[in-house]
Amino acid sequence: MTAEAEIRLDALCKHYGATVAVHEVSLSIAKGELVALLGPSGCGKTTTLRMIAGFVEPTSGRIHVQGRDITRLPPYRRDTGMVFQNYALFPHLTVAENIAFGLARRGLARGLIRSRVSEMVSMMRLEGLEDRLPQRLSGGQQQRVAVARALVINPTVLLLDEPFSNLDAKLRESTRVELRRIQHSLGLTSIFVTHDQQEAMAIADRIAVMDGGSVVQVGRSADIYERPASRFVAEFIGQASFLSGRLSSIAPDGDHQFVAPGGEEITVPASRCDTGLGTNLPCTLMLRPEGLTWTSAGTPQSLSGTVDELSYQGPFVHVDIRLADGQHLLMEHRSAAGPAPARGEAVGVRIDAEAARIFRSTTTA
């Protein structure tokens, strides 16, 4: 993929004095791909995006777009279309003038500009708002103008900085579906920054999870959810429980035998374990809530405890189970499967090894 990568980031770094904002970020993005830079605030995702747009000069590393090195190019020569978090619409220009801004800078003829703008207005469903000033638009309309303004210049890459964060929950969902549809139909290479893991999983082709300035894992949503590379990723994406314990043995076929403090044994295949684990060393067992099923206490590959708290979610109930050693386990009980056990009830849960993972224990675990 590297050969025909539309965008290639090579060991991109940004230091502010002694502070490292972005550290050796390398990423290849194929034409037409939608990649999410996902991470908590301060992880360097926005700085990375701003380096691609040219607003931040990298300390070291290269940025290639369509094989051309643009690392030192000023932003106005880059051909990237950016949708800002606050939309950054020009307050003194009308909707149509905002959309026309980039076309006018490219020296297009008036007639051509007019037809491209009206094309974009109808594509983004902004008809009738052409002569309004931005402050007289709703948040959703402003967001669509911001997208229209970025799309109309036919950018080689569309950059989106938390584009949905200022919309209310309902609108956010429909807007991201719509954006995904437009991005698909135009075959537009896009990078978007978000701290919302659900948003990233819902629309990105691939997700680059960032932490502390570095990319810690890149992959499709399912890869990252099912095979998180670290406890950080597992914790950040989706819900999971983490149990401390130790390994009692590693079988020749690779099966790892995890022993919970309560003595129960759980077998996890090697493909779902960190490398370099050793017997009798402390480690962490990660369990996704949907990988647990009810069973009677004491059966193999299961844990037992008591129901501590229940929280109704509609299609399922979140059951918080307290194990004998005091550790907690989150389980997803499907509402359709009948009533969930009551608070205080003693229960056993069977563990599906496919939804489990063993990590080396870090100091924080």
Binding site: P75, Y76, G81, M82, N86, H92, F101, G102, R106, I153
Partner: protein, 263 residues
């Protein structure tokens, strides 16, 4: 309005009305007093005539010095805006070493008593061989007005959302285009306010003009000041009244322009 019924609300209302009257009465007096027929100022005026207003408009001393003040204030406004705006822009953008000290230095003429400034400038200009005249007074007024422009523009520029400039650059605008097409229109009300401040400060200024203006070509404040020293004749009050009317008219025009611009 309910609050008027409480003792606290009533007190606030009374204080507000008193303050308003305190501000408005002197202006009203200046406008009304010259309407009297008597050859000396009295309030309330006795009789009703426009002859003092006519006399003021016919008096070449007032008309000439008015035009002179207008000319000086015009130049001061243009130069102060053209230098103060870029200075404020640079101060708002770049954290260069000494920026804070420079900012304080630019604002020092606002703190310094004008009399001290006038004395210092008079001595220094004489020593430099910068003779009395319009350019000398313009230079002196700039010392006062450039800081005003910087003072008014700086917070406006600091509040300016820089992502707008980034958006312009992202859409292909070179820095100069981004400045002219995006930043300038957005901060324009601030610059207009700064220019107005500069104009009023220069037009209204007496102390520097007393010390530094060409005695043969006094500004309007100097002419009014000399006339008042000779006695309160109704023509002086009429000139002041005309200035109030002119100021009010300008204010209304400015507001009307602003309303049109924001629509």
């Amino acid at each position: 309005m309910n609050s008027l019924r409480t003792p606290f609300g009533a007190t606030i209302a009374l204080l507000s009305v008193t303050a308003l009257l305190y501000l408005i009465i002197p202006i009203a007096v200046v406008l009304i007093a010259p309407l009297g027929e008597t050859g000396y100022l009295s309030f309330p005026p006795k009789g009703l005539t426009l002859k003092w207003y006519q006399a003021a408009l016919a008096d070449s001393r007032y008309v000439d010095s008015f035009l002179n003040s207008l000319w000086i204030a015009g130049w001061v406004t243009v130069i102060a805006t053209l230098t103060g705006v870029p200075a404020a822009y640079a101060l708002s953008r770049h954290a260069f070493p000494g920026a804070r000290a420079l900012e304080a230095l630019f604002l020092s003429p606002l703190i310094l008593p004008t009399l001290v400034l006038a004395l210092g400038l008079a001595l220094w200009f004489n020593r430099m061989g910068f003779v009395a005249g319009t350019p000398r007074l313009i230079a002196a007024h700039l010392v006062l007005c450039v800081p005003y422009v910087i003072r008014v523009c700086l917070p406006v520029f600091r509040r300016f959302d820089r992502s707008l400039e980034e958006a312009a650059a992202n859409l292909g605008a070179r820095p100069l285009h981004a400045f002219v097409l995006v930043m300038l229109p957005v901060v324009r009300p601030g610059i207009a306010a700064a220019a107005t401040m500069a104009f009023i400060t220069s037009f209204d200024e007496l102390v520097l003009a007393l010390f530094l203006a060409d005695p043969a070509r006094p500004t309007l404040p100097v002419t009014i000041y000399s006339a008042v020293q000779l006695g309160f004749e109704p023509t002086v009050a009429a000139v002041s009244g005309l200035l109030v009317l002119l100021g009010t008219a300008l204010l209304l025009i400015l507001q009307w322009l602003n309303r049109n611009a924001s629509q």
